[in-house]
């Protein structure tokens, strides 16, 4: 009843103690297409469903490389995602320049949280309209998966999903999360694809155009899985077979995708 009076700007509380602008920003994330993240004791896998505006249009890129050891999946306003990913890239380069070692995921995520909080307290600004899943591999502490939201909350997860119909993916992930710890990266990717498939609408299916997978982990820089390799995983998903162990083919260097 009182919502419309107290939702005009970020610096107005509602009588219920809520900031409606932040909730509207979270809504923008929920409207974006799904992104899924999950991790084992050695790898982090990020998957995303790419939307296209029409038959003739390209599919929107959802996975971004931040550094050799870190990548993100987004849901929500892509333009805000670009700004945040540029910020993350700059911070990673500064870290390498100042301290001669890669930026730890936890530290970068704190910086994102601090940056996002500014927009929730200054008059005239608006919260970022994008949710990030940040996957990073630190040499000393291993793989990490974080969720960063417009409300400036940044939490770490074993598995998480954001975007449209993400609850369906979460249900799948919660069911199988206890298995993720010690499985190899191919099995992890298959679980991720199963979770992502849960977010599809009734008559749609995953194909190499609308599906994006990014992996980072022990001995592997951030890289995207595309083309034939992606098709192989999707075929396994179709067939419902167990994933084949093909870790020796996975690239050691980074690969960049711009679809």
């Amino acid at each position: 009843m009182f919502r419309n009076q107290y939702d005009n700007d970020i610096s107005t509380w509602s009588p219920q103690g809520r900031l409606h602008q932040i909730e509207y920003a979270l809504e923008a994330v929920k409207q974006g297409s799904a992104s899924v993240g999950l991790r084992s004791s050695t790898h982090v896998v990020l998957l995303a469903l790419k939307r296209s505006s029409g038959e003739l249009a390209s599919h929107q890129q959802k996975l971004f490389r931040i550094d050799n050891h870190m990548g993100i999946a987004i849901a929500g306003l892509v333009s805000d995602a670009r700004v945040l990913s540029n910020f993350m890239r700059t911070e990673c380069m500064k870290s390498k320049m100042m301290y001669d070692r890669p930026m730890p995921g936890s530290r970068l995520v704190s910086l994102i949280g601090d940056k996002a909080q500014i927009n929730t307290q200054n008059y005239g600004r608006r919260p970022y309209g994008v949710g990030l899943l940040v996957g990073s591999y630190d040499e000393d502490t291993g793989p990490h998966l974080y969720e960063c939201l417009p409300n400036a909350n940044c939490l770490e997860y074993f598995a998480i999903s954001i975007g449209a119909k993400s609850q369906s993916a979460k249900t799948y992930l919660e069911k199988f999360a206890k298995d993720f710890g010690e499985i190899d990266v191919d099995a992890l990717i298959m679980h991720g694809l199963h979770a992502l498939r849960e977010t599809l609408q009734q008559d749609k299916e995953l194909n190499i155009n609308n599906c994006s997978i990014g992996v980072v982990g022990k001995g592997q820089d951030w890289h995207l899985i595309e083309g034939d390799r992606l098709k192989a995983y999707l075929d396994q998903l179709e067939a419902g077979t167990a994933p084949a162990a093909s870790s020796e083919d996975l690239p050691q260097g980074e690969a960049m995708d711009t679809e």
């Binding site: 890239r89 320049m97 960049m256």
Partner: protein
């Protein structure tokens, strides 16, 4: 008491006289580097001795850095400037990769380095740069620079403390200057032998060159690094 000359003033108390102190930011850390472009390969070689005056700072500080699978840069002069310039190049290459999804070509890095150097035209990087790599056609490419960014693509070049010893030798052996024999295409093996001989000879006569030689060999297969000993005196 003292014999004086006209105009001399003698006093019996201490006097203070202004001494001009100037900011002297540059230091020469010595060393020699060279690069030779082949038909389908490129060799970048540099000694690893770092010195200051008559002292040796270290026997192993590499002067060359691999920028990508196709490009290697080598820098002589003031090591601090070389180090920071290298980091700047690497950062710019990373932004390029973020923006375009691919690695910068050797020619693009060459142009960018020239711009970067000239941007500090009035407080230059004291770096003698040589960029070696493969061009977009897969042929060997060598780009040479002065400290403020003047650059040119060449078939071979050496820079650093023993450059005046080695460059004439390279002109004769790589480009067949001032000799009657026919120009032939040199194989990787021949180029490596000429390179190693250049450095062992330079080490004999130049005090700033020696300790170790690090060779980067760039081919279509990637970048291979070789290390060999030089005399340590």
């Amino acid at each position: 008491m003292f014999s004086t000359y006209p105009g001399q003033v003698v006093v019996d108390h201490p006097v203070t006289v202004p001494i001009e102190h100037r900011f002297d930011p540059y230091v020469d850390n010595g060393g020699t580097l060279l690069s030779i472009a082949g038909e389908d390969f490129c060799v970048v070689a540099a000694d690893t001795r770092q010195s200051e005056g008559y002292s040796i700072n270290s026997r192993y500080v590499p002067k060359s850095v691999k920028l990508s699978d196709k490009t290697v840069i080598s820098m002589g002069g003031c090591y601090a400037d070389c180090l920071t310039l290298t980091k700047k190049i690497q950062q710019s290459m990373e932004w390029y990769h973020h923006a375009h999804g691919k690695t910068m070509s050797t020619a693009a890095v060459a142009q960018m380095l020239s711009i970067m150097l000239y941007q500090k035209r009035f407080f230059p990087f004291y770096s003698w740069c040589i960029l070696g790599g493969l061009d977009e056609e897969g042929k060997g490419a060598v780009y040479t620079y002065d400290p403020v960014g003047s650059y040119e693509r060449e078939s071979c070049r050496c820079a650093g403390s023993a450059s005046s010893l080695i460059q004439p030798f390279l002109d004769n052996q790589i480009n067949f200057k001032n000799q009657a024999s026919q120009k032939t295409t040199l194989t990787l093996d021949q180029v490596l032998r000429i390179t190693k001989d250049s450095f062992t000879s330079a080490t004999e006569r130049d005090i700033y060159t020696g300790d170790f030689l690090e060779l980067f060999v760039i081919t279509s297969k990637g970048v291979e690094v070789q290390k060999m000993d030089l005399k340590k005196d």
